[in-house]
């Protein structure tokens, strides 16, 4: 049986969450949306929204603080999984051209690597040196000791929070692609339910498309919510990608296979974390690397394997 690809699974998860929100919109439970969801007095808030509102109002809101703590716990357990499995933005971006070409390229490259590996097997063990040096780098994988580097997203995060504090309203919410997506869904529903027409129905998708077309790398370069999550996700230890060195073409056969690195939407080189452009902190647990790996050496175990050093 063909295994379901992670990106299909992600699309289903996101669609399911959007469906829940849509059901919430027409039912009387007050489920809310991704800005703030919950039942009765219990709620989970967008951490960026919770911070912005408290800064904007210069108040400490107990329920918002509880929601913030809850988000931090979730981030500690799941890291940046929100970005791949809940946020609708990457799903929308997938509709824009350019994605499928990359997937095809990867598939070809993965096949090439397997072929090369078959060749290597019959060759001498001259490349053993490379092998061992690679085995050592895998040790640092679990640790992710690479220093955290602030990037443009963090600057925008700072700007949004500062702006919220100065101008007294959660500024980023105005242009947040998640909010705009959910609002557009609501407006379409209301258009059909009540015949409610408004220019907002054109404005929101327009801003959304503008953002995601002009800033193709929204998630990597702009998104302050992702930046906020990445501030805590460095401490995440569960569900981290783990490489089975005995299977990995790079560590077991010394082949310069970089398929996992190329598959990674966040530009993380999980094979060589010390030279990776971005650290494992940014991993969204999207599982694209596990899918792309020609030998299936990558898994996302609940707990890091024992042989991984702290």
């Amino acid at each position: 049986m063909k295994k379901i690809k992670a990106h299909t699974l992600r699309a289903f998860t996101i669609a399911f969450i959007l469906l829940l929100v849509a059901i919430g919109y027409v039912t009387k439970f007050g489920l809310g949306n991704l800005s703030g969801a919950g039942i009765d007095v219990v709620s989970l808030l967008c951490p960026l929204g919770a911070l912005s509102t408290m800064l904007a109002a210069k108040l400490v809101i107990p329920r918002a603080v509880i929601a913030l703590v809850l988000s931090i716990i979730l981030i500690l357990v799941f890291g940046r999984a929100f970005c791949a499995w809940v946020c609708p933005t990457p799903l929308i971006q997938r509709w824009f051209p350019g994605r499928s070409a990359k997937a095809k390229e990867l598939k070809i490259e993965a096949a090439d690597m397997v072929k090369e590996a078959e060749g290597v097997e019959s060759l001498s063990t001259a490349e053993n040196g490379v092998k061992t040096s690679c085995a050592t780098c895998s040790e640092s994988l679990g640790a992710g000791k690479k220093k955290w580097k602030p990037d443009s997203r963090h600057a925008i995060l700072g700007g949004s929070l500062l702006s919220a504090a100065v101008f007294g309203f959660p500024v980023f919410c105005l242009i947040c692609p998640i909010g705009l997506t959910l609002a557009t869904i609501l407006l379409v529903m209301r258009l059909f339910a009540f015949g409610e027409t408004t220019w907002t129905l054109l404005l929101f998708p327009a801003i959304l498309i503008l953002e995601l077309v002009v800033f193709r790398k929204w998630c990597k370069k702009i998104c302050p919510l992702g930046a906020l999550i990445s501030l805590c996700s460095g401490l995440n230890r569960t569900f981290r990608p783990s490489i089975d060195d005995s299977k990995c073409l790079s560590s077991s056969k010394g082949i310069a296979c970089k398929v996992c690195n190329k598959a990674c939407n966040e530009d993380i080189d999980i094979r060589r974390p010390e030279s990776s452009e971005r650290s494992l902190t940014e991993c969204t647990k999207c599982r694209d690397c596990a899918d792309a790996c020609p030998v299936g050496a990558i898994s996302f175990p609940l707990l890091p394997p024992h042989n991984d050093k702290k």
């Binding site: 439970f29 007050g30 007095v41 702006s163 907002t200």
Partner: protein, 185 residues
């Protein structure tokens, strides 16, 4: 981001907010647009504000007295407004000891040219609907709002037959009695 923030200086239309959202500055600062108040309202009296209501008001909840009116949840929830209860950021928060009579969502206004009562057709729907005796009829049986008693619950606007139920008044674009937000000082 700071540029976006300055959008706050563009004037936004004043809106009738749900109970507990009467301090507009506080409300705008705290509302996260999570839609929970709108969803939970037992009388479906809330709808999302649009671009037409002002750039910064987009997606925030406003009273929609065409869909429902606000009984402060006295009917089914012992007077605990559900919108206030679920609001996760306290953007909707009632002052201590708040009563329906003291939480002023807005004030009702009658557009005399559109009102069947004022056209001497004897309509008194709004007077009958008002739970706070804030509407009376004058000597010609025309409805009159008693400002001091009106808290803007919207029951009058909800039942007003102008433009509804087969009623047509030339030139009318809205109900004859509508609730307006009180002017911000």
């Amino acid at each position: 981001m700071l540029g976006l923030g300055s959008l706050t200086f563009i004037e936004s239309k004043e809106l009738c907010r749900p109970p507990g959202g009467q301090d507009e500055d506080r409300f705008v600062a705290l509302c996260l647009h999570c839609e929970r108040c709108r969803e939970i309202c037992p009388k479906t009296a809330l709808s999302p504000a649009h671009l037409e209501d002002g750039l910064l008001n987009m997606r925030s909840p406003k009273m929609d007295f065409r869909q429902g009116w606000c009984d402060y949840c006295t009917e089914n929830h012992d007077g605990v407004p559900q919108c206030v209860k679920v609001c996760p950021t306290e953007a909707l928060k009632l002052p201590e000891g708040a009563m329906p009579e003291t939480v002023i969502i807005g004030k009702a206004e009658i557009k005399k040219e559109w009102c069947l009562g004022w056209l001497l057709m004897g309509c008194q729907e709004c007077v009958r609907a008002c739970p706070y005796e804030a509407l009376e009829v004058d000597e010609y049986k025309r409805p009159v709002v008693i400002e001091d008693k009106c808290n803007g619950c919207g029951a009058c606007e909800y039942v007003c037959v102008s433009l509804e139920k087969g009623s047509y008044i030339s030139g009318a674009t809205d109900r004859a009695i509508t609730v307006h937000p009180i002017e911000r000082s």
